[in-house]
Amino acid sequence: MIETLGAYDEALDRRPDEIVEARRNGNKVVGIFCCYTPVEIVHALGLIPVRLGWGGDDSLAEDGIEYITNIQCPYVRQTIGVFKEGKNPYAVNTDLVAISAVCLQEYRMVEVLKYYFGKETLTLSVPKNFYLPEGQEFFLKELESFTGKLEIIAGRKLDQGQLRKSVALYAEIRKKTAELYEFLLLDNSPIRWGQILKVIHAGFYLAPETHLSLLKKLNQELKAKPVSDKVKSIVKVRLLLAGSIIAPGNTKIIDVLEGLGVTVVADDICTGQRTFAGLVVKEPTLAGLAKAYLDRTPCAAQLYPTQETDKRLINLFDLIDRHRADAVLYHTIRFCDPYTFRVEENKALLDAREIPFLQLHTDYGVNDIGQLQTRIQALVEIIKRKKKEAAHVGSQAAV
């Protein structure tokens, strides 16, 4: 029982009313898509940032087919379905939709929100040559233009002092989130990966000050928990989950993994560990933000010219080493091309390091749960056998 998780639930219950009240008082809500959109600027302008996007509901994803085809990403389809349904408080109360144009499908989704639902939208172009000086120069100009348009919405100019405070606030949130993931390094972590993901997703909606305060409390509570010294006789398998977005509401993979008793010790997804991975704002200015956001561990839609320089791969191998992952589960949502394109490359690179790799290609339907269970369980059986054999060889060598 983790008490602070209950406090998160209560804060989330209160949040829609807080947002409605804030809007009544003249505040505006900016719904953000994609982690390349600098939330610090939105916050520093006195706007209320919420990160949008939902998953896990096949019925809402079906609703999206009215606007895009059924051979497009179910996350994008569902998010359109949520706006169509008009019940989600964060979708309903969004005054402006801001997106960084990284994924083409998400970009099209925002166009749909504009054309069919009359949402005001703002696009931040993210260069594909982000690792070159000209790409960074372009992005800074984009960010200046983006900020100028946000200033009109906010009715005020960006204050450097306020930007410094917002940068510091979000830096602290990222630091505390990273600390939360450190618990997964332990053999008997007091918190499960699925619970951490829920905390991060709560932060998409809560006021950042509330989220930070709860994060601090959560870390303190977990640190104070007595560490179980009971050594379990069963062989534990430690898995890393990488790949496509797991948006709020999409608990399918988490449920399957937890149902099988599998331990996830790290992730490489944009709604999890990659919300903070490699994102360090060294200078609280637009130039500092432009550099930090382009230098972050990238989305698979942002390609490095060589594998050696690809920070996503470097981050993946670093996570495997640091979190002692036995294997990589590579989750791809149907029609999510950026991550599906990378399957064979990732498998080959991991094979070369003798790290088992398993792709889980799925959507929000439930009819493949049995297949997913079989695949994951078979991978676990392979790893357990190898670990037992290694332990046996070790004990014989000791004799």
């Binding site: 088992p356 290609h361 799925t362 009819n367 493949d368 049995g370 297949q371 269970q373 079989t374 695949r375 369980q377 078979a378 059986e381 392979i382 056998r385």
Partner: protein
């Protein structure tokens, strides 16, 4: 005296697939009983029915069993089993039992197909499974046989009588059915359509093989569809290699592997107790 020295031990493997529940009984490491029954809505009961029939054919009772392993998609409803293990691991052990030099398996069952790479001890090294649709599975062949109004066996035999493999563009059960009906309407021979269908499935399944890569050794064809001589012949041609099929019914391969794992896991447990 420990159980290890008490004499003959009996082990059971039960493989509950989407179409059939299979069971195999081992006396030490020798197969003494087997059964295949249809899987019905009550999955747990189907497993018990298969196990009971296999016990009857072996002439022993459930009380004689030292250990039972359940596998297949119905393994989650197998309260009678001591352990559940995936069909991927079981198929590897089953193929290794019959063919110690087996290094790769193609398994085609009622609802999925898999390619499994194994080591010299029958352990799984890597595997891939088909997507969640029925393309390239026993279900696909069933749908097509129905469209052609023939039995699965006849569909298989017709393949061997075909002049050429009529191109079939879709391995989706739904689209292929309408494609087959169009071909029939245009006057194409059933034998050529059957051959084309089996080649379409063979190509799809062969792509699974290419994804796991080769590590030499024998290739084994398991699962209920391994009884289909037409598909086996098409697969051998597409792969350019011989496929071995177990001397007992290949549909039992998963249950054989489950029984072998029941034996090895029980013996390991007993040895630990003895130590």
């Amino acid at each position: 005296m420990s159980q290890l020295n008490e004499g003959k031990l009996y082990f059971a493997g039960v493989d509950i697939g989407s179409n059939a529940a299979k069971s195999v009984i081992l006396a030490d490491d020798r197969i003494i009983g087997q059964a295949i029954v249809p899987t019905k809505a009550d999955v747990e009961k189907s497993g018990v029915t298969a196990l009971t029939a296999a016990l009857e054919s072996a002439g022993i009772s459930r009380d004689d069993l030292s250990y039972t392993v359940a596998t297949g998609y119905g393994r989650i409803s197998a309260s009678y089993a001591d352990e559940v293990i995936t069909e991927i691991t079981c198929h590897a052990k089953g193929a290794h039992y019959f063919f110690p030099n087996a290094r790769a398996i193609i398994d085609i069952g009622g609802q999925d197909s898999k390619a499994i790479k194994l080591d010299s001890n029958g352990n799984v090294v890597d595997f891939v499974m088909n997507d969640k649709c029925a393309a390239g599975t026993g279900k696909f062949l069933e749908v097509i046989a129905r469209a052609l109004e023939v039995s699965i066996d006849d569909l298989s035999r017709k393949t061997l009588a075909g002049d050429y493999a009529c191109p079939i563009n879709s391995t989706c059960a739904v689209f292929a059915e309408s494609e087959v009906i169009s071909l029939l309407a245009s006057g194409e021979k059933e034998e050529n359509i059957a051959k084309g269908l089996h080649y379409a499935v063979a190509k799809r399944v062969a792509s699974l093989f290419s994804r796991i890569g080769s590590n030499g050794g024998d290739r084994v064809f398991t699962g209920g569809v391994a009884k289909n001589v037409g598909l086996r012949s098409a697969l051998e041609e597409v792969l350019g290699s011989t496929l071995l099929v177990s001397p007992v019914d290949p549909q039992l391969n998963g249950a054989v592997g489950a029984a072998i794992l029941a034996r090895s896991n029980k013996l390991e447990e007993l040895e630990e107790v003895d130590d």
